[in-house]
């Protein structure tokens, strides 16, 4: 029996985000909110481990009340219980403040064996919350996992590094962050989707987690965002129009002139 906590982040569907060049803003209106891609792999992995070893899966998400939708999807995929961590006090959290909130929540879920999360979030790609949470909870961390095998009170995981695949072993409890490669997340059946609404979902605020307002949100953050600007390309954008037979030598000449094809 394995008691697993899965961390779930709800993000905007990144492929649908656009910049409005005239207003210089990020257009989020009408963009679907989804579970961040590798978090889905984490949920799937939790379900597969449970299918093999038995146990319980608790999906946790910190976010606005809408993040309940992401948790419902996690429940439909096979999580047993969900916790939504939501409070206006959490707004403005950086990775440290987020890890504080998640740490308080998982400490409330006693006797967990495994914390699973995605290797990165699709919106921020900061790679921070997992390791920071592991540090606060004094857990071993295994990142970039492409395979997880439980062996008694130990876990063996394969990791995807730049030049090697590394196999590591850790005692439980431990935190593991997974890559997209680890599995193919299931699409929940209609039955599972309907069943999800019957599963328990708790909503916890800062007070429920005994967190002080100085530890979370903007006040608790160690990093501050000074400004946020829309990213516009600074490329030359030279359009080459006309017949292919004319364009090709023109382009190659330009590249040779810039020294970009030399040394080839």
């Amino acid at each position: 029996m394995v008691n697993i906590v899965v961390l779930v982040k709800q993000v905007y569907q990144s492929a649908d985000l656009r910049v409005d060049r005239s207003t210089k803003t990020l257009v989020t209106q009408g963009v679907a909110r989804v579970i961040s891609e590798t978090d889905k792999n984490a949920i799937e992995e939790a379900v597969r481990i449970k299918e093999k070893h038995g146990g319980k899966i608790t999906a946790i998400s910190m976010g606005p009340p809408e993040a309940k939708e992401a948790l419902r999807e996690a429940l439909a995929m096979g999580a047993d219980e969900a916790c939504l961590l939501t409070d206006p006090l959490f707004e403005g959290s950086d990775a440290h403040a987020t890890a504080n909130v998640l740490a308080a929540a998982i400490t409330k879920i006693v006797d967990f064996d495994l914390v699973l999360c995605g290797n990165y979030s699709e919106d921020l790609f900061a790679f921070q919350v997992g390791p920071r949470l592991a540090e606060i909870c004094n857990l071993p961390q295994i990142t970039y996992a492409t395979k997880i095998t439980l062996e008694g009170s130990k876990v063996v995981a394969e990791r995807d590094l730049e030049n090697e695949r590394q196999v590591v072993e850790s005692k439980l409890p431990c935190l593991i962050s997974v890559t997209r490669e680890i599995n193919e997340p299931r699409l929940p059946t209609l039955m599972a989707i309907m069943g999800a609404s019957k599963k328990p979902t708790n909503t916890w605020t800062a007070a429920d987690l005994s967190l002080d307002k100085e530890e979370v949100g903007f006040n608790g953050a160690l990093v501050e965002v000074l400004r946020s600007t829309v990213s516009v390309g600074d490329r030359k954008r030279i359009m080459l129009l006309g017949e292919v037979a004319e364009i090709a030598p023109k382009l190659v000449k330009a590249l040779l002139q810039e020294g970009a094809l030399k040394g080839s």
Binding site: Y12, S14, A15, L17, R18, L26, A95, H96, L124, F125, A126, F127, Q128, G130, P131, R132, E135, P140, Q141, T143, Y144, D160, E162, N163, E164, R165, V167, V168, E169, S170, K171, L222, V223, E224, V225, L226, S228, T229, V230, S231, G233, R235, K236, R237, I238, M239, L240, L241, V244, I247, A248, P249, L251, V252, L255, L256, G259, A260, L261, S264
Partner: protein
């Protein structure tokens, strides 16, 4: 904020990246009128190269327990050094190891960390390092500051240039033995990845393709062109992850390889933000796409609207012709 924190430090488990960080670190240290320190852990180095590339001081750690990177041991070692010497800025190389080290170390030190920074500048009063990073799939550039010290930033390979090695540079090399606890994880095996062809990270010319290539057999068109220009072949994520036409190591993007060639040919790649973020470091981007509205054109230097099946062979011929006449 504490006034006692002083000095710019760099650490990377990848020596070449450590030298790049020293390049940027030197600029920051000079602007702050402070010392530049490199931490070198079991890098088969006596520290002299770090000095030649700009370090005023090198902390050399050679502990058999740190012979292979493990996050807890490296966190212990760096925590001990940071707590003793209290640097103001710590730049960490964003290898995969570096990226899992930086936040764990930052949390232990209870300090801010900004990962995958793209720009580091001092504010007008030289109190903070302004750290830019790209978010929301490349759509936003956020400028961060750390409210605590040291200010930690991770930096990817290829962003900054090392200072050319100067053998006459002088610096202090200090052997240190920080206390570390035994690791909580055990490495059972390291299986080297079999590198196929040129490593994309080192390639100076990359010919990359996306869904515009209609079937696997047509890869020959791309490969032939790559051979003609002496480039490495890369692809967008769907080609590797969904179609499996190329191994995972060959896809370029935010979650894949990040490249910095002299010229990057994007053939039949629409320009999903995921992909654009991986090619940001390219000096010149050439896009070939039959859809004039493809987002890739917004982020390219040379834009060819056309059928890649005609354009690529024509480019191959032009390269052969023109390099002959040069």
């Amino acid at each position: 904020m504490s006034q006692e924190n002083k000095g710019v430090w760099v650490f990377s488990d990848l020596p070449a990246l450590a030298f790049e960080l020293l390049g940027k670190g030197r600029t920051l240290a000079d602007q702050l009128a402070t010392q530049l320190t490199a931490v070198s852990i079991n890098a088969n180095s006596d520290g002299r190269e770090h000095v030649q590339h700009g370090a005023d001081r090198v902390f050399l750690i050679s502990d058999p327990a740190l012979s292979t990177f493990q996050v807890d041991g490296y966190t212990d070692a760096l925590t001990a050094l940071v707590n003793e010497h209290k640097p103001d800025v710590l730049l960490i190389g964003a290898t995969r190891n570096g990226l899992e080290l930086a936040p764990r170390l930052a949390e232990r030190l209870k300090t801010g960390c900004v990962t995958e920074t793209t720009r580091l500048e001092l504010d007008a009063e030289k109190k903070f390092v302004l750290m830019d990073r790209v978010t929301y799939g490349g759509n936003l550039v956020e400028t961060h500051i750390s409210r605590s010290r040291p200010q930690i930033a991770t930096i990817a390979k290829g962003l900054f240039s090392p200072i050319p090695a100067d053998p006459s540079r002088k610096g202090e090399i200090v052997k240190v033995e920080p206390q570390i606890k035994p690791s909580t994880t055990r490495i059972l095996e390291n299986k080297p990845k079999t590198a196929k062809g040129v490593k994309l990270g080192d390639a100076s010319i990359i010919v990359s393709f996306g869904r515009g290539v209609r079937k696997k057999e047509d890869l020959a068109v791309i490969e032939e062109f790559a051979q003609t220009v002496g480039g490495a072949v890369g692809c967008s994520r769907p080609i590797a992850e969904d179609l499996h036409w190329l191994p995972e190591e060959q896809y370029i993007g935010l979650s894949g390889q990040k490249v910095n060639p002299k010229v990057y040919f994007a053939c039949g790649i629409s320009g999903q933000i995921q992909h654009l973020t991986g090619i940001r470091g390219s000096r010149i981007i050439v896009a070939i796409n039959n859809d004039p509205k493809a987002p890739i054109f917004e982020f390219s230097d040379y834009c060819v609207v056309g059928d890649l099946y005609q354009v690529i062979p024509a480019l191959s011929n032009a390269v052969k012709e023109l390099s002959k006449s040069q």
